[in-house]
Amino acid sequence: MRITQYLATKLKNFSNLPKEYIERSKKQVYYETPKEINYLPRVVERKRYRYTMNRSWTGQFRQQNMPGTMRRKVFVEPIADWSFFRGDRIEVLVGKDKGKQGIVTQVIPERNWIIVEGINWHYRRVGAEGKFPGIIIKSEAPLHVTKDIRLVDPADLQGTDFEWRFTEEGEKVRVSLRSGRIIPIPETNNQTHDYKTPNAYIEREKDTPAAVVGEISFQPKLCTFEMDIMEDMGIKEERTPVKSYWY
């Protein structure tokens, strides 16, 4: 129980993409040995990526990690338990928005970053050419989870330190150190690109309905899969196989 709790992260992936796809889309293979008997399976590929605000399956990510380019290593300190989730109310401790509170809209655990709605704006000027001064684009800059922010206590709406503790039921919760109140993980954390809540998911054309998925049609039988299928299809095997040896 403890181990599963330890391994399972409460942070829900907003894109809802399978891990395999994220890995596959990120991959940059420079050379791979041919699939021949005289080659050992070896792959020369990019090992280190620069994670930024661009998610790893997007074209912008690839542009920032163009094949053959190297960038300086970014040291990301390890974090024991990820504690900031989408929808959390946090207080900013640094910068020009110091002391302000905001809602977390995006989480980037690869860099220990979060984005807070309307906090820490930064401005970029793009398209300046000749006399045209360009246009200003503003977007939220990321905040570091260990240094720049702290959670807000729901009891008095003041910033507070917190601790992960276990409830009587064995559930792991965040507890405010000042008021001792549980800071619940917001529902927004479970939202994905595909649905707001799992129950509100609209079934598409190719989806199997949930009721059909839950139906139990398996009945234990003393036969292999192939034997069962053959019986179903009315295939009868009457030939006796020649004796063979496995070695």
Partner: protein, 273 residues
């Protein structure tokens, strides 16, 4: 391949066979209608293709393509992959049917991806391929579990293809996967000759020495790398949780590392009042 497909596609268009319904459309029907074999029609004789079971006349090669209404879409939303727990409660027959549905879906997706690449267009939601792949892997796991259980009950063996660790001509360990032979091993001279590999020679010993050195170096470098990592973390964050570091980097002596100059930042340390 693609041009042939495009030709067939055009042909299909010409005979007005655009009406194209997906097999996986189970939103209105029950699980019985999943069955790809349920659609029994006339054997397609127009195309010079061998089909192992009769297909409906109107579908033909268009089954390799997605629904035309999805062609210009930017996003085609689908659900998640089948989990093993969901597949475990399904009967063998349904798993068999689902396998072919997934196979056809995978063929369709790979065809569409190829065609989109040819036409320089975006292939919407490429993660669908991964979802189908995960489902197929999970399905295979479940089927193997069932077969293993049967064989273990009946024969006491798993019934899987036997394999064992052997050393190859270079003295490196490799997995030898057994094959089925008509002759017993002592009579099979060809096999005996093919398996007769000696790995005790001086050249092999020399090679192994160097190979092990290479492995050792990789290990040593990994250790150095993690040591440097810890050093840099401590330098950047002087008050870092040491227990966490000890858990994450068990092979690094952190107390010893704390004494070194490199873990100290290049600034005047703050004095707590």
């Amino acid at each position: 391949m693609s041009s042939a497909l495009v030709k067939c596609f055009n042909l299909a268009k010409a005979v007005k066979t655009v009406a194209f319904r997906s097999f996986l459309g189970t939103s209105t029907s029950t699980i019985q209608s999943w069955s790809p074999a349920a659609t029994v029609g006339a054997l397609s004789t127009k195309c010079g293709l061998h089909t192992s079971y009769p297909m409906r006349q109107e579908k033909l090669l268009m089954e390799f393509f997605d629904d035309p209404k999805h062609w210009s879409e930017n996003e085609v939303k689908v659900g998640r992959a089948w989990k093993t727990d969901e597949l475990r409660i399904k009967s063998n027959k349904e798993l068999h049917q689902l396998w072919y549905i997934l196979l056809k879906e995978r063929n369709m997706l790979l065809t569409m991806e190829h065609e989109c690449n040819e036409k320089m267009e975006m292939f919407p939601n490429p993660e669908r391929i991964d979802k189908v792949k995960i489902s197929m892997e999970n399905l295979e796991t479940v089927v193997r579990e069932r077969n293993k259980a049967f064989h273990l009950l009946e024969t006491g063996e798993t019934g899987e293809r036997p394999q064992r660790q052997v050393k190859n001509a270079f003295g490196l360990p490799m997995v030898y996967r057994s094959c089925e032979h008509a002759l017993p091993p002592f009579m099979n001279t060809k096999w005996i000759k093919s398996r007769h590999v000696s790995c005790g020679g001086r050249a092999v010993q020399k090679f192994l020495l160097k190979y092990r050195e290479k492995l050792y170096n990789a290990k040593r470098k990994a250790k150095n790398r993690s040591r440097n990592e810890v050093m840099m973390i401590l330098r950047r964050n002087p008050n870092f949780d040491l227990n966490l570091l000890r858990n994450r980097f068990p092979d690094v002596d952190i107390d010893k590392l704390r004494q070194t100059d490199k873990t100290r930042g290049h600034y005047v340390p703050k004095v707590d009042v």
